[in-house]
């Protein structure tokens, strides 16, 4: 990794430069919230966004994705190629960069998912520093900083950006489109100051140090029953989660019944059907057990396999849950043995 400095006024040039050979996708306003969308004009970019309604996972693992078509008569697969045009995902927060790395463990390791891989390979990631909002708790998992998983990362120093350059491609594009300069000691000092100031902005620190142990000990805690009574089983938490990767697969026949499409759709462990098996059996029949296993999967199961929890503290689930069930509340209720 090496570092450069760019004047803030150059940002539109950088975006326009990327747009020459890439689709540029970044945060834009949607009413009083934000979404990742195609950027036609650099002025649309809202790098001051707090968070987006959906995380960047929608761009790699879409909510509904046609995997292939097939012919009914002979079961022939008609088209299953993935067309991924080159694109730049501009303005990704550290939590979401870290979330994509956690998704990579699932989609790119033991079984490589060609659909995810093609889109991932075709996408450059430009990170952007952020200011923690009330719901953020990325600091609890150490996902408040991104050390890899991006091509370049822009830290806002006010009048200029401190740019961390991670990839050759990122370096080349940066060189092609904007004027940057070497960093000075003053730049580094400002970078350190901004980083330290940001760390101070997080709300109270969530103590997650003993979480796996706590989960082991609290399997039968009444906290789960209380959460089960509140949970609406709506699955909003899973949809907005940058690390939830479960999906359902559905075949649909065309009206003439001669061909069909196979699609995969985001699923949620909070739906009763998710854990339903043959003969009408359901091994997670109660809401309480479903809420519980969401936490055991994210904070225990994934951890035991990949040495990271499957949560980056982005706070989207906390915002999306009408019942106001938040990881912060759940973890502290477990530690205290109940709700306040």
């Amino acid at each position: 990794m090496f570092f450069r400095v760019m004047e803030s006024s150059r940002l539109p040039d950088l975006v326009r430069g990327f747009a020459q050979d890439h689709e540029v996708i970044g945060p834009v306003a949607k009413d009083d919230r934000f979404v990742f969308a195609t950027i036609d004009d650099p002025a649309e970019l809202r790098l001051d966004y707090d968070t987006t309604l959906l995380p960047p996972k929608k761009l790699f693992f879409p909510a509904e994705d046609q995997l292939m078509r097939f012919r009914v008569a002979d079961n022939e697969v008609l088209d299953d190629e993935v067309f991924a045009a080159p694109r730049v995902l501009f303005g990704v927060h550290p939590c979401d960069i870290n979330a994509l790395l956690l998704m990579d463990n699932i989609f790119l390791k033991d079984y490589v998912d060609p659909y995810y891989k093609a889109r991932r390979d075709a996408t450059l990631i430009v990170g952007i520093s952020c200011v923690p909002s009330e719901e953020c708790f990325c600091n609890a998992w150490g996902t408040d900083e991104a050390h890899w998983g991006f091509d370049i990362f822009l830290t806002d120093l006010g009048d200029r950006y401190f740019i961390s350059v991670r990839s050759v491609k990122g370096a080349e594009l940066l060189d092609d489109f904007v004027e940057t300069r070497e960093i000075t000691d003053a730049d580094t000092a400002d970078f350190q100051r901004v980083t330290a100031e940001r760390k101070e902005m997080f709300a109270e620190d969530l103590d997650t140090s003993q979480l796996p142990l706590l989960l082991d000990a609290k399997f039968d805690s009444p906290v789960w029953d209380a959460l089960g009574e509140r949970c609406l089983s709506c699955g909003a938490c899973s949809m907005v989660c940058p690390t939830c990767y479960c999906f359902d697969v559905r075949d649909d026949l065309a009206p003439d019944q001669k061909t069909g499409t196979r699609s995969r759709l985001w699923d949620s462990c909070q739906f009763s059907e998710f854990s339903a098996v043959a003969h009408g059996q359901n091994f997670r029949d109660s809401r309480a057990s479903r809420v519980k296993y969401r936490y055991y999967h994210k904070q225990w199961g994934y951890l035991s396999k990949f040495e990271r929890v499957l949560c980056v503290g982005c706070g989207r689930c906390a915002r999306a849950c009408a019942a106001n069930i938040t990881p912060r509340e759940v973890v502290s209720a477990l530690a205290k043995g109940g709700f306040e």
Binding site: L54, P255, A322
Partner: protein, 249 residues
């Protein structure tokens, strides 16, 4: 031999049969697969004595309907109900709450109750006969109709989504109406329409019926805690779901 299909309407505005005509892009493909023996909206003929699939719109409101449904069930191998009236009792079911006699009088005059002899309290088709396939909604969604029809033709089991609307609504990046201070029935309503109304800018009206997974008690508490008038929520729910609790759980 292509399955012989009849399409009939009970108490409804025939909107779902009109929806069938709105499938114009695919209608010829569909008609190529079936032998459409009777379509109440589009034909002036009579129901044949024998058929394989009965597609039924509308709520049960008369003893004549009850008898007809029993005959249909005895004749058809497959019964498919379409639209809120047939699936949940829909809007007609609201009339059954309170004094039905008086309501008939209101609409049809002093001897109204007598004229409407053989009336029954409006109810969904499933209250009278077993139903094999359901296409909920007011009106039904044409894409879903084709998907369910396809399942019926292929002999696959009915697959009614059990979860509430919120998940699919989140995937559309809609801003939650509850956050904007507006009542939305998505928390209660079974998914499957792609959260169409909310995506088009209107709150969910609950026309698809209660989701089996919905946590009605908690949802009511949450809406009350958010400052919504729960009586109004219940009133809005009743438009399509008067009888849902009884049949859903």
């Amino acid at each position: 031999m292509a399955p012989r299909v009849v399409v009939m309407g009970l108490a409804s505005d025939f909107g779902c049969q009109v929806q069938m005509t709105n499938i114009e892009d695919d209608l010829l493909d569909v008609l190529g697969l079936i032998d459409l023996s009777y379509w109440q909206l589009a034909s002036s003929g009579h129901m044949p004595a024998e058929y394989d699939v009965a597609i039924i719109e509308g709520a049960v409101t008369t003893t004549e309907h009850v008898e007809l449904l029993k005959r249909v069930r005895a004749t058809a191998g497959v019964v498919m109900v379409i639209g809120a009236c047939a699936v949940t009792g829909g809007i007609p079911a609201m009339a059954g709450q309170g004094d039905l006699e008086e309501r008939y009088g209101c609409v049809y005059g002093a001897d109204g109750a007598e004229v409407a002899c053989g009336r029954v309290s409006p109810a969904p088709v499933k209250s009278v006969i077993d139903v094999d396939y359901e296409v909920p909604g007011c009106p039904m969604d044409t894409t879903e109709f084709l998907r369910v029809l396809s399942r019926a033709l292929q002999g696959l089991a009915n697959r009614v989504p059990e979860e509430p609307m919120c998940a699919i609504c989140k995937t559309k990046e809609n801003i939650c109406f509850l956050d904007k201070g507006e009542i939305c029935l998505g928390l209660f309503t079974r998914t499957g329409c792609g959260a169409r109304c909310v995506t088009l800018g209107r709150p969910c009206t609950g026309c698809r019926g209660l989701a089996k997974d919905a946590n009605v008690e908690s949802a009511m508490k949450i809406l009350a805690a958010k400052g919504f008038d729960v009586d109004e929520v219940a009133e809005r729910l009743a438009v399509f779901n008067t009888l849902e609790e009884a049949f859903c759980r």
